[in-house]
Amino acid sequence: MAAHLLDRRGRLWAWTTQNYPPPSPPYAGSIGKDFVPFGIGYVELGGEVRVETRLTESDPESLSTGMEMELTVVPLRTDETGDEIVTFAFRPVA
């Protein structure tokens, strides 16, 4: 096996929104009143592969199939020592 770098930008292939907190565990993000809805979708990277990812947008009006997306990081939760835990997501290219 060899590492293979994928594009940081791609096109949105399919999407939905996650409007309720996923069962925890396994979900490690904030739940209860601190839960913030997020988008989920597949982004097609360089015609090579479709990766499933969180999306920064959770408003259906701001998402459309085929739109250009780019990699970013978003906060997931704050751990017991007060450190912010981040994860990857894709956001629409402005």
Binding site: A14, T16, R54, P60
Partner: protein, 383 residues
């Protein structure tokens, strides 16, 4: 006779819903007793059994309530296609000539709320669950959202499908949800995964169902109205299928396991979709019923918009789907769900479905299950 080698001579159901004083095993025993009574046989006549459950490790323990007769009794778990697998294995046991008379039973008792598990048990990485992607509902949201864009299906069609299933459930004394809901109430309930709202989804619940099978040539010893099992198939996903719990997908697309199971079942039965009179489809959500209508060959992609508007899927329509209310009105006790579907089509083909009877003397029934982690089951039955 029609070349079928396996007949269904009895069906039994413990109602689906919430029953705080009953265990899954208790409900399994009720379903078995009802299926035996329906077939006119005793527990001691049963030569083998298969039992499906998600929550119960050893559903064969139901023998403690039925009688310790020493029969081979095998437990099955195969995701949302668990009941289809129990039925297929039971049918094959008869087909192989190993035994002449046996039973397939499914039972479950789930906690409320979305299904959950450790993603690693599904060959997914831990981070997939940690960041909130390990839910089945978001897959159904993505699949129908894409399907609606590609094939011109409206959200109003999704609401109409859900409303039909609640309406059918209201006619079914064994259903979990028996209150009709309007399209407006369904569309107005909270969005869980766009475009799907709360009332467009089924819920995990409790219940049990059982089916007694025998060698087809013996069927008339037991019943005047045997229903022949013409095909029962299970398939899993191939690379390229758009499936639940897929952290990535290749670019090349392949049809899903429902399409594969459906084609194999039609071929084995020598029956086509045009011959089917009553249909049970996996409606985890209203969108799944819309997509599955095409994946099982009952219409072309996009035709659903007009079919639903014209009432084609209603009990008195040309393509009656989920006549007992489907998963949306019955909920999903995983181990029992597919045997509930078989129970319903058997009642329909016997003309004994009461208030929800499909008119016109239906002769061929069809059932389909689909679920995590990309498994489908189809059965075709006929008089």
């Amino acid at each position: 006779m029609n070349g079928a080698d396996v007949a269904i001579i009895g069906v039994g159901l413990h109602p689906f819903g919430r029953f705080k004083d009953m265990t899954a095993i208790d409900m399994g025993a009720v379903a078995i007793r009802r299926a035996l009574a329906d077939a006119g046989v005793e527990w001691r006549d049963i030569q083998f059994a298969f039992a499906g459950s998600y929550e119960v490790d050893n559903p064969d323990a139901v023998v403690a309530l039925m009688g310790l007769t020493g029969i081979p009794f095998t437990d099955v778990y195969n995701g949302c296609a668990t009941a289809a697998s129990a039925l297929t294995l039971a049918a094959n046991t008869v087909r192989l000539g190993e035994h002449d008379l046996g039973i397939a039973v499914g039972m479950d008792k789930h906690l409320p709320g979305a299904f959950s598990a450790d993603p690693r048990l599904y060959a997914c990485p831990s981070w997939y669950g940690e960041q909130g992607q390990f839910t089945t509902t978001k897959f159904f949201g993505m699949k129908i959202n894409k399907y609606m864009q590609n094939h011109g299906i409206s959200r109003s069609t999704l609401a109409k499908v859900a409303a039909k299933n609640y309406r059918n459930g209201a006619r079914n004394p064994s259903a979990f949800r028996r209150k009709p809901l309007s399209e407006e109430e369904i569309l107005g309930s909270p969005i869980l995964n766009y475009p799907l709202t709360q009332y467009m989804f089924c819920s995990p619940d409790e219940g049990a169902a059982a089916v007694v099978l025998c060698k087809a040539e013996n069927a008339h010893r037991y019943t005047g109205t045997p229903i022949y099992l013409r095909a029962s198939t299970v398939r899993t996903r191939r690379l390229g299928a758009f499936e639940v719990h897929s952290p990535w997908l290749p670019m090349e697309e392949t049809p899903g396991p429902t399409v594969d199971a459906s084609r194999a079942a039609y071929e084995a039965a020598g029956i086509g979709p045009e011959d089917v009179d009553v249909i049970q489809l996996q409606d985890t959500d209203a969108g799944a019923e819309v997509i599955h209508l095409a994946e099982n060959g009952f219409c072309a992609d996009g035709d659903q918009e007009k079919l639903v508007a014209d009432g084609a899927l209603e009990i008195d329509g040309p393509l009656p789907v989920n006549t007992d209310g489907g998963l949306i009105a019955n909920g999903e006790p995983i181990g029992a769900s597919g045997l509930r579907q078989v129970h319903e089509v058997v009642l329909q083909l016997r003309g004994r479905a009461g208030e929800r009877q499909v008119p016109g003397d239906p002769r061929v029934g069809y059932t389909q299950l689909y679920g995590a982690p990309g498994t489908a089951g189809v059965s075709i039955v006929s008089r």
